[in-house]
């Protein structure tokens, strides 16, 4: 599933990796992408130990340190953006300081940035767009990156805006690339006014599939009527392309369900280590 690591991928046989997810008591798919990445990274044998903890599932964030034997741990939040969770909840529950590295129970803990903010997420989005609309020329295609959008958390919109700019500048040749949100303008429900290209690929910028990607966004796009909560979940992804409002609409699963997310996690660990080296170099 996950390709073998690039030759440049550094093994850290003495260190541990902790992936943090939100989890859910109601959505069984919420934690799966995080577990899948942990399984894949464990198989690569790059770390002494790989564990996951969650806010709303077991093992809980508070159990994090007890799981590890090793004394150096990289912590990667499997969250789509900086925000309330990565800045308040996680540091509070894990006992992290405001610095990148904290000494906790004799362990050196390095807090990495969330997966969604890494530049390699762009590669994943481009791959996802291409896989969702295979054989469709980018020059006739608009890509729409969809987030929740809420005034409470401006950072999730910021992460999407950054990705939109990066995809535009990537040279992939898409006719248009736009952001859209469920709860604020530009509204995903107005996708046919936001875009003009004949083909439109919609990628939800979430870690996990759930009510938003299975139900809320399809309804807003006009792909589905109101669905009962237990409606067959995958059906909505099997209709590609849907002829709708005079266009061909392609709808993808949440970006975090891509198995290559494991690569982004590893990139985030590399970036964290690089930042630590820079900080050390600046200090001497």
């Amino acid at each position: 599933m996950i390709p073998s690591p690039p030759l440049s991928r550094r093994a850290r046989p003495e260190a541990g990796l902790l992936l943090l997810g939100h989890g859910s008591t109601e959505n069984p798919d919420s934690s799966e992408p995080t577990w899948v990445c942990a399984d894949a990274i464990r198989q690569l044998g790059l770390f002494a130990e790989v564990h996951c903890t969650f806010w709303k599932e077991e093992p809980i964030f508070r159990q994090s340190w007890s799981l590890f034997d090793c004394d150096e741990i990289f912590v990667v939040p499997n969250f789509i953006s900086e925000g309330y969770f990565t800045r308040q909840v996680i540091p509070r529950e894990l006992g992290l300081s405001e610095f990148r590295t904290t000494l906790i129970q004799g362990k050196r803990v390095h807090y990495c940035d969330p997966v969604g903010s890494h530049a390699s997420m762009t590669k994943l989005l481009l791959q996802r767009a291409a896989d969702t609309a295979p054989g469709i020329p980018p020059s006739e295609t608009a890509v729409l990156i969809v987030g929740h959008g809420t005034k409470l958390d401006a950072n999730s919109a910021k992460a999407i805006q950054e990705q939109v700019v990066r995809i535009r500048e990537s040279g992939a040749g898409y006719a248009e690339v736009h952001e859209a949100y469920m709860e604020e303008a530009p509204f995903v429900a107005e996708w046919d006014q936001i875009t003009t290209a004949p083909h439109v690929v919609v990628v939800p910028f979430f870690i996990a599939d759930g009510l938003h990607s299975f139900q809320d966004i399809p309804v807003l796009l006009g792909l589905a009527e109101e669905l009962p909560p237990a409606a067959s979940k995958n059906e909505v992804f099997r209709q590609n392309p849907a002829p709708l409002r005079g266009r061909s609409l392609y709808y993808s699963r949440a970006i975090g369900t891509d198995p290559s997310l494991a690569e982004v996690i590893l990139d985030q660990v590399d970036a964290c280590e690089e930042a630590l080296h820079h900080a050390c170099a600046a200090a001497v």
Binding site: I60, Q88, R92, E93
Partner: protein, 217 residues
């Protein structure tokens, strides 16, 4: 140097450890382990469904026999009918982490005196955002919430934390708040309140607040 958790798990098995919650562990040779549901101990192995990787174990434990989601892995409704084979102690630990997350670590840290329980009040005081309000829950409201959510019919863990550092629960049997188990059984230890308690405390606190408002208006 301390022995690591996998070594401690191996030593526990070597001295007769074979059960956690609803899981039975059998050792077929020195480093090969078979895990089943305790109800399936006498079932022929080939009548059980082999859960061959962690994803299969997660899928199996996700819901109970009635098809309802199991938000807690230690709820007493683990479906029987499965078999997990672990080729070595590392694979065994991975399987146990999947079936009962964090429980191996909690037990051995507790044995070593390195797992201090965290009280409900301390947990609630720490909360921010939508859970900040949970801290206003009354002592009586907290006791009845904990009794309801943590009872053995809903969660097999032993509740080692208390309301404040100085209290003891009057709602539970001695067994529910102790780490003592019959020989060979690893207790499932709860060292601090989980997300169900924090969310429940918020709801209870809200209801209590509304009831007081109503009574005074």
């Amino acid at each position: 140097m301390d022995t690591n958790l996998n070594e401690q798990l191996a030593a526990w098995i070597a001295t007769g450890g074979n059960r956690l919650g609803q899981i039975q562990i059998e050792q077929s040779d020195e480093a090969t382990f078979a895990l089943t549901h305790v109800d399936d101990i006498d079932q022929p192995r080939d009548s059980l469904i082999l859960l061959s990787d962690l994803a299969a174990m997660r899928a199996w434990t996700r819901s109970n026999e009635a098809g309802d989601l199991r938000p807690l892995k230690t709820s007493p409704d683990l479906r029987p009918g499965w078999l997990v084979l672990a080729g070595d102690i590392v694979a065994l630990r991975e399987a146990l982490e999947c079936l009962y997350p964090g429980m191996v670590a909690a037990y051995f840290r507790h044995l070593a005196g390195r797992a201090a329980p965290v009280s409900l009040r301390e947990t609630l005081e720490r909360q921010t955002g939508m859970y900040r309000f949970a801290r206003s829950i009354s002592d009586a409201g907290a006791e009845s919430l904990v009794e309801q959510v943590c009872q053995n019919q809903r969660c097999l863990k032993r509740v080692l934390w208390t309301l404040t550092a100085a209290d003891a629960w009057s709602c539970f049997s001695k067994q529910k708040t102790s780490s003592e188990t019959p020989e060979g059984e690893m207790p499932l230890l709860c060292l601090e309140p989980c997300f169900l308690i924090v969310a429940g405390a918020r709801l209870t606190a809200k209801r209590e607040h509304e009831a007081t408002e109503k009574a005074t208006s």
